[in-house]
Amino acid sequence: MAEVTLLQTRGLTRRFGGLTAVDRVDFTLMQGEIRAIIGPNGAGKSTFVGLLSGRIAPDAGTVLFDGQDITRLPAHRRVRLGIAYTFQITNIYPAMTVRENLAVAAQSRLAHEAEIAAAAQEAAIAVGLEDRLPDRAGALSYGHQRLLEVAMGLALHPKLLILDEPTQGLSDDEIDNFLTVVRRVAQTATVLLIEHNMDVVMALATAITVLDRGRILAEGPPEAIARDPAVQDAYLGSAT
């Protein structure tokens, strides 16, 4: 398969007051990858993916997606282009049913109620929530709420699925299930994953990017990154 660039940033920068959270980042993501972004707390990971999804506006630099400059595109238009984003802190519609949560997502690309209902069902099955469709989303366990959020991303049929610390707070069993889900998603979408759990990273990632103080410290295949002394120094050594 020919390597196709899905997403590219050049000189991407975002400051908060005196702090440069993302500092002139040049980043390239190939189609079909599962890329993990790791780095200590406050490294700028969430800000970086926020710049990609359009939730946060950059101070400098450009974002190219699928051959198009999307730097100035509002977030909702980027979603329509195929960038799905799940929040670091669970963000669903607690008062609505699981089915309605998924329907809102599916409706973003579908017009007919029957298609929307089918897509909602399909997304629920993909994460194993099909038995919970009639339940109020707010009544789900924390782990199931995270899965629901991933399913909402799937219902968008994205080209790129961005997950910000999706396994945080999940039990080991839930993490196993999550690995299966992401592997399945990766057959049709590129996945960009911020993750603290190194077991998850090593199990999933085809490549790793290490962020530290807003800059890319290292990048490469998982084994190489795990061995990199600079990375061990800056991150792995201090990881909990």
Binding site: A75, H76, R80, N91, I92, M96, E100, A103, V104, S108
Partner: protein, 317 residues
């Protein structure tokens, strides 16, 4: 995911409202005519406040836009009543689009204040241009504006039966339109914006545009009620543009159940019956209403139908 039980209820309520005119007569017919028209106002308000979650304190403006748009067209333009009615609706539609574009730059408390200010400006304008509007004395529509012909038939608005059936027809059209709007994909988006705007944006929706749509639909339906009220009773006056109208429609919606299709009808019925009593008992009517609003907001925010929905009937929405 259509809501069949709610649709059945809709048809049953309309049939019941049609049938009731053969049972009652005299003042109750007039009272029920007023209730239906004011319920349309509350149904419009409910689109914005109940379904989309934006509390406006200025909907008297859109009711008044319909009232004056229709009333002035009939009074000065001498046009046929259906055309005057359409003129009122168009006035409310344009005004709500423009006010929506401006007011939706703000949120929550600022939004309440900005909508209130627009409405006060509208109210003061009706007083300022009293040479045209008649100010707080108002204008009574002339005889030629008290009847119209429909399909070759002359319909006199001095007949209580004619008024009731026209009000019911407009109520039915608005109710069915709102059923279609709120129980389908569009209604789901309104709810999504109300429940979690940021999540909705990150699912690919232009939240600002959804809010503007809700605002414009809401203001336009309020204008339908205003136009109908002015033409049915043959009177337009600035008291309809007062802050009091904005508060009453909020109250009706809140009592009946925001975000439920029938909440506005239930709330309007209960409250107009109550207000008739209240204003007889106390001159401090607005204070009573204010206290009621606070009590409702604190202890009964879902209203009558909202509470029933949450306890027993999730389809009642």
């Amino acid at each position: 995911m259509r809501n069949l039980r709610l649709f059945a209820l809709t048809i049953a309520v309309l049939a019941g409202l049609f049938g009731v005119q053969f049972v009652i007569s005299g003042y109750p017919v007039l009272a029920l005519t007023r209730i239906l028209i004011l319920a349309v106002f509350a149904m419009g308000y409910n689109v914005l406040m109940g379904y989309t979650g934006l509390v406006s304190l200025g909907h008297a403006l859109f009711f008044a836009a319909g009232l004056y748009g229709a009333g002035l067209a009939a009074y000065y333009g001498g046009v046929a009543l259906p055309i005057a009615f359409a003129a009122g609706i168009a006035a409310a539609a344009v005004l709500s689009l423009v006010v929506g574009l401006l007011a939706l730059r703000t949120q929550t408390v600022s939004f309440m204040i900005v909508t209130l200010m627009f409405a006060q400006a509208g109210y003061l304008a009706t007083l300022h241009f009293s040479a045209i509007t008649g100010g707080d004395q108002g204008l009574s529509l002339p005889a030629h504006a008290r009847s119209f012909s429909l399909l070759g038939q002359e319909i006199a608005l001095t007949s209580a039966t004619a008024r009731y059936n026209i009000a019911l027809a407009v109520f039915a059209v608005v109710l069915l339109a709102l059923y279609a709007l709120t129980q389908g994909p569009r209604g789901r988006l309104f709810a999504a914006v109300r429940e979690n705007p940021e999540r909705t944006r990150m699912l690919g929706y232009d939240v600002g545009r959804i809010r503007l749509l809700a605002f414009t639909v809401s203001g336009t339906i309020s204008g339908v009620a205003g136009a109908l009220y002015g033409l049915m009773f043959g009177f337009i006056g600035s008291s309809f543009a007062e802050f009091r109208s904005s508060v009453e429609v909020l109250l009706f919606t809140l009592v009946g159940g925001p975000g439920t299709l029938f909440g506005p009808l239930v709330g309007t019925t209960v409250m107009t019956l109550l207000i008739d009593r209240l204003s007889g008992l106390t001159s401090a009517y607005l204070i009573a209403v204010g206290v009621l609003l606070i009590v409702l907001t604190l202890w009964f925010p879902k209203g009558i139908l909202g509470t029933i929905r949450d306890r027993w009937a999730p389809w009642l929405r």
